[in-house]
Symmetry: C7
Subunit: 94 residues, 7 copies
Amino acid sequence: MRVRPLGDRVVIKRIEVEETTKSGIVLPGSAKEKPQEAEVVAVGPGGMINGKEVVMEVKVGDRVLFSKYAGNEVKIDGIEYTILKQDEILAVLE
Amino acid sequence: MRVRPLGDRVVIKRIEVEETTKSGIVLPGSAKEKPQEAEVVAVGPGGMINGKEVVMEVKVGDRVLFSKYAGNEVKIDGIEYTILKQDEILAVLE
Amino acid sequence: MRVRPLGDRVVIKRIEVEETTKSGIVLPGSAKEKPQEAEVVAVGPGGMINGKEVVMEVKVGDRVLFSKYAGNEVKIDGIEYTILKQDEILAVLE
Amino acid sequence: MRVRPLGDRVVIKRIEVEETTKSGIVLPGSAKEKPQEAEVVAVGPGGMINGKEVVMEVKVGDRVLFSKYAGNEVKIDGIEYTILKQDEILAVLE
Amino acid sequence: MRVRPLGDRVVIKRIEVEETTKSGIVLPGSAKEKPQEAEVVAVGPGGMINGKEVVMEVKVGDRVLFSKYAGNEVKIDGIEYTILKQDEILAVLE
Amino acid sequence: MRVRPLGDRVVIKRIEVEETTKSGIVLPGSAKEKPQEAEVVAVGPGGMINGKEVVMEVKVGDRVLFSKYAGNEVKIDGIEYTILKQDEILAVLE
Amino acid sequence: MRVRPLGDRVVIKRIEVEETTKSGIVLPGSAKEKPQEAEVVAVGPGGMINGKEVVMEVKVGDRVLFSKYAGNEVKIDGIEYTILKQDEILAVLE
């Protein structure tokens, strides 16, 4: 199944980063805060959103940082995604 | 009875998805969180909404994801629907 | 007495629908949630509202669905009405 | 003393309606909810209000319905009035 | 010292009105609610405020009614004044 | 170190006014409410702020009144300043 | 890894300033309030943000003051940064 976001929305998938504590213990994703890094999975068409022209600046495959708690979490085919407005994406990692 | 939504509103009907837990038990819709998937049942005309031109991007029959708690729940001829603004629809599933 | 709503306001009268429970008991309107169906009784002239042109899309006699808790309840000649802005009307039933 | 409201404000005086209960007892105004009916006493000039042109639609002597709790209550020469913006007036009674 | 309000602000001085109760006792200002009557002491230049043209409609010496709790109270040379935006002035008394 | 405020921001330094109580005791600044008088120390360039042209009306050295709790307190080289938007300045004292 | 902020966002890194108390004790950064001084690490392109033209006024290497609690804290390669909108930067230190 393909997901086509509306307007200036973007579908992202959080990236679980393994983290090593100072004492050397490896923390899997679930033992930490929700990660704020994600990969862009689908991008809306942009255009006139609320009477304002929005140009999409991110593209599929981009690795992005986003504001914790931003957007809506949805499950598609059993996998968790977050759908948010492009304006809630803080930065692209390169 | 037919329902004609005003402005940029859309009438949707939630789709109850059966879900199989890891232990193999099948959960009917009522034992889970409210589903966020729905089918579009009726689409408003769009046009000037609050002084801003809104073009309708969804059509009857589309399968959509929407923001939990969005919109108003109404009962028409004994069936439950949700009426929300198109902007509260997150994505179309294809 | 006639009531003339200002601007983009609409006067509606809730329609109490009798409802039969599964066990066959008929519930009169007062034993249920407030109904969300109403008949349009009077329609404001529309025009420039807050600097935005509003065209009235409903007319006297229309049967409408409206957002629960929307608008102001008033009593005119002992009868209860709700006065709300057209934007709080969700859909017309046909 | 005369009161001249600024901008799109209107000065109204609540009308206390005597009400007869089903058992035949007459309730004076003070034993009931605050009335929502009022007579227009003074009307501001309208014009550009917050960058938007407002045309005054009510006139002195009009009998109006207004949103409960709307506006500011003031006492002029010992008499209580309510000063509200025209947009808080719901309808004119004719 | 002279005070020059910025933008669409107005400096007012509350007027303490002595009030006689029904039993004939005179209540000085301090035993009552804060008065809502004031005299205009200084008027800002108006002009473009937040991208909107504001024309000043009150002048020094006007007796005005204002919204209780509106504005900021300040002490200049030991005397208490209220500085508010013209839009918080409800009416001029004539 | 010099501080250059951005946009329509202004840097001010509160002025502690000694105050004599009725009984003749002199209260130093710290024993009173936070003062609302300040001297302007630096002024931003103004210009287009949030899509609206802002002209700076205060200048370095002006003595101003400002809204209590307005702005952000910062320490530069050990001295406390407040940085606020010009719109939070109520009046200039002359 | 390089971080490219979107729109009018800026990436900054807080500067921990050592502070000597009156009694001569040196307080390291962690024993104090969060510092409000930071160095600009990356600057977004600006342009049309929410339908308004934003020109970026800060540049990489600038030392800035920002509003406490402003922005989002993120960790990139184990180092903590804050990403905020340029409008949340109060002033540049020179």
